[in-house]
Amino acid sequence: MATVSMSVNGKAVTGSIDPRTLLVQFLREDLRLTGTHVGCDTSQCGACVVHVDGKAVKACTVLAVSLEGASVQTIEGLAVNGTLHPMQEAFREHHGLQCGFCTPGMIMAAVDIVNRRGHDLDEKTIREDLDGNICRCTGYHNIVKAVAAGAEAMGGQSMDRKEPPRQAAE
């Protein structure tokens, strides 16, 4: 067994785990955060996407033990006091899901796209950057719409995103 300590959704957690425990197993089975899904378990589908130190990763292909001291954010960490994150709200508003299995990974990937590329996203950028997330229901059309709308909505908020470029005011 090995001991690992990390921050998950802003809370310090410590686990005594077998070194072969994957991050997604640690989240789901040890921490009972079952919002992060296992779709393919082969790093293809993206249902398990979470953020590690602010970057989207596939939690089925990361050892939990390798994340000593890391900061992890999961789908459960997006909503604040019962209010959905703008990206979650956009997926609801634009019906960016049918069965919902891929949705946690889609939303974490979408927030990552906004973090990297800003709030004004064109369709091509969204489709290319959703390369690592597979949806078997929607045909992606509404997901792409939701991501664009969520990105724009995140522009009006100050959570989980980089600061916009500042005007040279001084």
């Binding site: 070194p19 082969t42 993206g46 990763v57 292909t61 390369d131």
Partner: protein
């Protein structure tokens, strides 16, 4: 996945020490090949030595006529590096098209080069740019480094510490992805350094990455897509599988080479 002991050294030197002491140990870089392989029980190391905390294996710097990339630099870090974008934009472009965004946040250049997957992108850049692969023991030029499918000149106990890329005047990369797996059916990297022109092909060769010498000669007359017209790569020695037969892959080599040159000269 079979059980293993986990080690997290703080430097490449410590990692090398562990690698020498632990029998049947494997190096863990980004883990995006090794962990899936271990899940399938195709690899079962008794010890994993994680390079994730080796700060000396990180970082990208320009030193005169070369760009030095630490082995644990992720694909995303290479793609977004202002240094790489300015010095060798074709290399930044290649890195930005490996796998998907999440994979690029974990996968590393050292891991990709050491694994030498026939469909991996980086070996093409190393060979075409004339990179030097630096290990904890020696320096190897790319021509001597890649020796076959998943095979390299790396010896037991050897760890890649950095990859050194010469700054070239022109470089470009084009690949045709399998629509399902997104791995390259064929990828071609072209580079021009003075009168030295190199064309390296991945995804297609039965022995892994290789140079297409006829295309290099053709491009010496004039470094332009037009110089490649009428030039065909033979189908001998080219991979065939359920995704593409040898004829089709050989055809793609010609098409991708033209596209890579077009990118290199700015269309």
């Amino acid at each position: 996945m079979y059980a293993f002991t986990y080690h997290r050294p703080g430097s490449a030197r410590q990692a090398a020490g562990l690698l020498a002491r632990k029998e049947d140990a494997k190096i863990l870089a980004g883990g995006h090949t090794l962990l899936p392989t271990m899940k399938q029980r195709l690899a079962a190391p008794t010890a994993l030595i994680d390079l994730g905390a080796c700060g000396d294996l990180k970082g990208i710097v320009r030193k005169g006529r070369v760009v030095v990339i630490g082995a644990m630099s992720t694909h995303a870090e290479v793609a977004e590096s202002a240094i790489v974008q300015e010095a060798i934009p074709g290399l930044a472009y290649l890195a930005s098209h490996i796998g998907d965004p999440h994979v690029r946040h974990r996968g590393t250049i050292g891991g990709s080069v050491a694994n030498n997957d026939p469909a991996a992108d980086y070996p093409a850049a190393c060979l075409a740019l004339g990179a030097t692969i630096v290990t904890n023991q020696r320096k190897l030029v790319a021509d001597d480094f890649f020796t076959g499918l998943y095979e390299t000149a790396l010896e037991e106990g050897e760890i890649i510490t950095k990859v050194v890329f010469p700054v070239v005047s022109r470089a470009g990369y084009a690949k045709f992805r399998n629509p399902a797996s997104r791995y390259a059916l064929v990828g071609v990297f072209v580079a021009k350094r003075g009168s030295d022109i190199r064309v390296a092909v991945i995804g297609a060769g039965e022995g892994g990455v290789f140079r297409w010498l006829e295309a290099e000669t053709a491009l010496k007359a004039r470094f332009a897509p037009k110089s490649l017209e009428g030039l065909k790569h033979p189908a001998t020695g080219i991979n065939a599988d359920m995704h593409a037969d040898a004829e089709y892959r050989a055809h793609l080599i010609g098409v991708m080479t033209k596209q890579a040159v077009a990118q290199a000269v700015g269309r």
